[in-house]
Amino acid sequence: MIGLLALSFISCNKDDGYEAVVNERLDFVVPANFPAPAQDIEHNYPTQKGFELGRKLFYDTRLSANNTISCSFCHEQENAFTHHGHTFSHGIYDQEGTRNAPAVQNMAFQSQYFYDGASDAIDMLSIAPIHNPVEMDETLENIAVKLKQDKEYVKLFNQAFEGGQITSGNILKALGQFMTMMVSANSKYDKFVRSEPPGNNFNQKEMQGLELFRQKCASCHATDIFTDSSFRNNGLPPNPNLNDLGRETVTGFKRDRYKFKVPSLRNVELTAPYMHDGRFGSLESVLNFYRNGMTDSETLDEQLRAEDGTLGIPLTDEEKEALIAFLKTLTDEEYINNPLFYYQT
């Protein structure tokens, strides 16, 4: 019977016409200062070939209806995979969306995606930008049709997924593997908290900023991912032109009105403009807002309301400066320059 089984495997290999390639599992390392991943990595564990395929797809304009827009169009590496300088990402046919593109980094450590949590699975989230009529306006099924005409892709899917075909599921998995490996954990801050090298220190201003951050910000921008993946209303005055309801869009519950996903603050120096609608052009403006720009509403996060009823997070000018100095220590040059994530032919 073993003979028979072996035979059947051999005949499978012959069928697909490709030499067996070694497809190594990649080493997915959880940085020492990180919490455990929030996604089930084993479910679609990254392999060398799967990762490379995911990267190729991320940079491929064929993922859009008229073959002009790739994921990387709105998520550029030099800006921590955001769309620098664009309040609203503009996508296919030069249309504008209504939200600002967030950084793509440490996705495996987050449990919710998009400002409203439209997805909670790293292997499924790509469905949203691909089908969004103002982003890529394409369908997975049609991408598969297009890619099947490219012999190179036929080969790469086959290698990445053990005889796998070009299917919607495998496109999603490859993108998922690429994003799983996109870990930013080597900022000045990381090296400081991990004592790399021993004795590595923050200057006084950065130190003060870190302490302020832990007191006033870390309840929401939590852990070394700098988000707890929760949805909260941080008091931004709703933009009447957009009336973006935030989390309510997904859940249909009124209690979720104007709640948005707490964004990670890693690489925040590089990801302006800020907030879901990109309304603030600088960190300074963000802090001014936290200090005295908040609007009250039923769903405002309780922490932002003081006992005497005043809203906001009290900050002196000096404290603002210290916080900004600290936020800049979250910039990870190694991440934005990592050739592993470059476009490669």
Partner: protein, 275 residues
């Protein structure tokens, strides 16, 4: 359903090996260990006691008359249960199916199920949380199948479990208005449900014998079950259409959907199959 090639060959090899050792050819109906057969589920859609006919109205207990023009849904995670309560769980990667009233896709066919006498079945309505991609194997793409049947959500990223659409009239609106019920999970509420149904007759799975389990799906129960959901109460602000796609209603519909299925009868033997 496409089947994983390697596994089929392996099971066939195992089955062959055992069969060749056995002299009895199942004339007595005994269950022979390590033999396999198929099972079929036939989902026959009805509405409040009658057949569901697209385009023909039926009236519910709230006096709303619904004319359905689309009914598709996902069933999944099939389990067969014998008299001792032993469960045969169909391989998860192959256990996601769609039904489509318009295209008459009504049959779920399970292959290579261990021979046995099964007294009950369990299955899910929709796709279970966190296991979106289990229906995806290297060779098959459940997403494509679901998308072709309008059973995907693309602005968020999941499956629609039930798509139930048409027009309705009510005591308050004599002229027909559109309704759309899209049932599914979102990242806040898990609206996947499972049902366990006792079979009125034992389903005998044998090599070469495929029992067919005939279910009746009462679509009326979706809005008119334990919890009543009036379409008129769910009209949009302009009063032009009722769209139920989120919030509390999805949880209620999920619970109602577990009342939807009954097993009408079971056909045993090799013959009389649907399709």
């Amino acid at each position: 359903m496409k089947f994983n090639y390697i596994k089929t060959v392996a099971l066939a090899a195992i089955a062959t090996a055992f069969i060749s050792c056995s002299s009895d050819d199942d004339a007595t109906g005994e269950v022979i260990g390590d033999t396999y057969g198929d099972v079929e589920f036939y989902f026959d859609n009805g509405a409040a006691g009658n057949s569901l006919i697209l385009g023909v109205p039926f009236t519910n207990s709230m006096d709303e008359a619904l004319t359905v023009n689309k009914l598709n849904y996902i069933v999944s995670n099939f389990v067969l249960i014998d008299a001792d309560g032993n469960e045969v769980v169909y391989p998860k990667e192959e256990s996601y199916f769609i039904t489509n009233q318009q295209d008459e896709v009504k049959t779920v066919h399970l292959e290579n199920v261990p021979a046995g006498d099964y007294k009950a079945v369990r299955f899910g309505i929709g796709v279970d949380e966190q296991r979106y991609l289990q229906g995806e194997t290297a060779q098959q793409s459940f997403w494509d199948l679901a998308a072709a049947n309008d059973l995907t959500w693309t602005w968020s990223t999941g499956y629609r479990f039930v798509v139930f659409e048409g027009t309705f009239t009510s005591p308050e609106n004599a002229e027909p208005l559109l309704f759309k019920v899209h049932q599914g999970s979102n990242t806040e509420t898990d609206n996947y449900r499972e049902v366990t149904l006792t079979l009125p007759t034992t389903a005998r799975v044998r090599e070469g014998e495929t029992p067919s389990i005939h279910l009746i799906t009462d679509v009326n129960k979706l809005l008119d079950g334990e919890t009543k959901i009036s379409l008129h109460d769910n009209l949009n602000q302009a009063g032009t259409a009722a769209a139920i796609m989120g919030g509390e209603n999805l949880i209620k519909i999920a619970d109602n959907s577990t009342e939807m299925f009954t097993v009408d009868h079971v056909h045993n033997g090799a013959g009389h199959h649907h399709e």
